[in-house]
């Protein structure tokens, strides 16, 4: 938990500034820099919980600040924003505080977050109809795709952080879907080529889904 912020209160700009400071302290880099736009998105998703208003201005408290920073921790663990929002919905502040990294014992807070993700997945899955893949499974898949990416880069003779100068463009369409293309060919790419590629990707993915036997 963030003890020294227990009495914290502030407006939107102050929330962003304070959350940024805390993220630097805890080395939370994933998910992009915190911005006003991002905070508005988190409010809409319900991640920050109830937010008070004073006139036209939003007023935030320790709990809102804590939820914002914890969301960054969970993003770093590989959770999706959707799953974070669901998890926060089903947890009280004390339960959430237990998940925050304890600088004196990172391992303990990490295992608590892992156990919590499993416990809450069960709880949420029983409450929400429809099928969904658990956060951790998404994480496992994402990790495996990232590893494959690295292997592919290596096989192309592109070291991940060495003296790499091969001319390849990486299109990160989603964190879990990335495309490599020849940079020279990219220069001559036309809108028609792009459309054809899109259709080819759709066809390939559909075929994979059918093979997997999951098409409805």
């Amino acid at each position: 938990m963030l003890e020294r912020y227990l009495d914290w209160q502030g407006n939107l700009e102050q929330l962003v500034a304070t959350a940024k400071e805390i993220c630097v302290d805890f080395d939370l880099r994933d998910g992009g820099e915190i911005s006003i736009r991002m905070v508005r998105d988190y409010i809409q998703r319900g991640i920050l919980g109830e937010v008070d208003k004073a006139g036209r201005e939003l007023e935030f408290t320790y709990e809102n600040l804590f939820r914002l920073v914890l969301a960054r921790v969970l993003l770093q663990d590989g959770w999706s924003l959707r799953k974070i929002a669901e998890h926060f919905d089903f947890s009280n502040l004390q339960e959430l505080e237990e998940l925050f990294p304890n600088n004196e014992n990172r391992a303990l807070s990490a295992i608590k977050r892992l156990r919590s993700s499993v416990k809450n997945s069960k709880k949420i899955n029983s409450l929400i109809s429809g099928q969904e893949i658990s956060i951790s499974k998404k994480l496992a898949r994402r990790t495996s795709i990232q590893q494959e990416m690295k292997q592919a880069l290596r096989k192309l003779g592109l070291p991940e952080d060495g003296p790499a100068t091969e001319e390849v463009t990486l299109l990160a369409i989603a964190p879990w879907f990335q495309v490599l293309m020849d940079k020279h060919r990219f220069k001559s790419l036309t809108p028609k080529d792009a459309e054809d590629l899109g259709q080819a990707v759709t066809a390939s993915l559909t075929q994979l889904i059918i093979k997997r036997g999951e098409q409805k």
Binding site: D77, N105, R106, A107, L108, A110, I111, K112, L114, R115, V118, S134, S136, K137, L139, A140, R141, T143, S144, Q147, K150, Q151, R154, K155, L156, G157, L158, P159, E160, D161, G162, P163, A164, T165, E166
Partner: protein, 438 residues
């Protein structure tokens, strides 16, 4: 301190051509083994025991014996917790210093068999107990024992392994012990690989004590932990690590812990495009460089010196005169044998015995070049001939992992049963991974 070096299969590559060749990377300790060995790191362990109904009788008795052996070998500076799991998981003894051994043993004796296999719940409770006292100056590890399939709670193998990986990244590793014929070897090996621990199994309950001893011998001998290998290739050079080591978030390869008297190694297949090789013969080419980040014996972050692989360009005539390095050749043969065993394991799982037989022939050929492979294949053949799917599948998977990622004794000799008997248990090449060797 850690010393690292490269040994290419030949001391040269062909001029004006693309080249593909193997290079052995080795890391070894420069410490004086005999002085350091007396000061082993404190251990922070949790033993997680499956007490599901199938453990009834001898399996549970042997598991208790193993747990008691651990208690006997631990000291007052060490911490231990005991977790059991059946339909639910329960902390039997919370993490505490091993001062009152009788107390631990009486709790172990009281375990009885009942219920299903909530394997994840057991592991995660064990990990939590270990995490409570996880420090960089001790070895924190969960030792999980199971004879079955996870069938209660979280059962997804990928997710369980991802959780083991996450904990290993912050210093809590996982070793697994499979028992008898029907445990899920893919899950148990997956957990140990992701959890940066050891994977062992015993065909019978009596075979289990050896691997426990081996693990403890290794824990006592660990010199450097959290070894991360960074490889930096030059332009036009690509490479692949053939041992199956996974990578961390920064792209470094995760190597096994370095123990006293041992080398940690990686077999690297390197490809160099012909453009780079279009230079005068006898030109020295820098191919790649590497270093290792690790935690030393005192738990302090260290980085090794950077080693460079530099190799001569040579003509066809010169190349033909170069001798193959025997150690690189032998290690490459073991890695190939390991890969073939992985293929055979998948084939056996799907009852494709024709493919198993075909792969066994290829393995037998490799055995002509390597006595350890030869002895191992003979044992495997007994299972494939009798179409014993479970035994074959388990032995191939565990042997494959061993061949690819084992710690190697410094100055290792050619394999023979005599050559192995005098070594520390964690450096022995066993003919059969799941059996006690008398």
């Amino acid at each position: 301190m850690i010393d690292i070096k490269f040994t290419p299969e030949k001391n040269g590559i062909l001029v004006d051509e693309g080249n593909t060749f193997d290079v052995l990377f080795r890391a070894s300790s420069t410490e004086n083994d005999s002085t350091k060995k007396t000061q082993r790191l404190p251990l922070n362990l949790s033993i997680v025991i499956d007490r599901s109904s199938s453990m009834q009788g001898q399996p549970l008795d042997e598991a208790k014996k193993c747990a008691s052996m651990l208690v006997d070998r631990m000291g007052e500076k060490d911490r231990l917790s005991i977790v059991m799991y059946g339909a639910d998981a329960e902390v039997l003894v919370p993490s505490q210093p091993v001062t009152d051994k009788r107390k631990f043993k009486s709790q172990i004796d009281a375990i009885y068999a009942s219920g299903m296999t909530a394997l994840y719940d057991g592991w995660s409770l064990g990990a939590e107990e270990v995490a409570k006292n996880s420090h960089s100056n001790s070895i924190s590890r969960v030792l999980l024992l199971s004879d079955g399939q996870a069938n209660r709670g979280l059962v997804d193998e990928d997710v369980i392994s991802a959780h083991c990986q996450k904990m290993a990244e912050i210093g809590v590793s996982t070793s697994t012990y499979g028992l008898s014929e029907y445990f899920n070897e893919n899950l148990m090996v997956g957990m140990a690989s992701a959890g940066q621990g050891q994977a062992h199994y015993g065909q019978t309950a009596e075979d289990l004590l050896d691997p426990f001893q081996e693990e403890f011998d290794l824990l006592e001998a660990i010199l450097s932990r959290r070894m991360r290998l960074r490889i930096l290739p030059e332009k036009g050079v690509s490479f692949e690590i053939l041992n199956g080591y996974s990578q961390d978030g920064e792209g470094r390869f995760i190597l096994p812990d370095l123990a006293f008297g041992a080398d940690v190694w990686a077999l690297i297949q390197i490809k160099i495009n012909s453009k780079i090789c279009s230079q005068q013969p006898e030109t020295k080419l820098k191919i790649l460089s590497a270093y290792i980040d690790y935690l030393d014996h005192d738990g302090v972050d260290q980085r090794s010196e950077t080693a460079k692989l530099i190799i001569d360009l040579c003509t066809r005539e010169q190349f033909a005169c170069l001798e193959l390095d025997e150690t690189v050749k032998s290690r490459a043969t073991e890695v190939r044998a390991a890969t073939l065993q992985e293929v055979a394991q998948v084939a056996a799982r799907s009852e494709n015995w024709a493919k198993v037989d075909q792969t066994m022939l290829a393995l037998a050929e490799l055995g002509e070049e390597n006595e350890w492979i030869k002895a191992s294949v003979q044992r495997l053949k007994a299972y494939s001939t009798r179409r014993q799917r479970e035994s074959f599948s388990k032995e191939t998977l565990y042997k494959s992992r061993k061949m690819k990622q084992r710690s190697v004794a410094k100055n290792e000799e050619i394999f023979s049963s005599r050559s192995e008997s005098g070594r520390p248990s964690y450096l022995r090449r066993k003919m059969e991974q799941g059996k006690r060797e008398l």
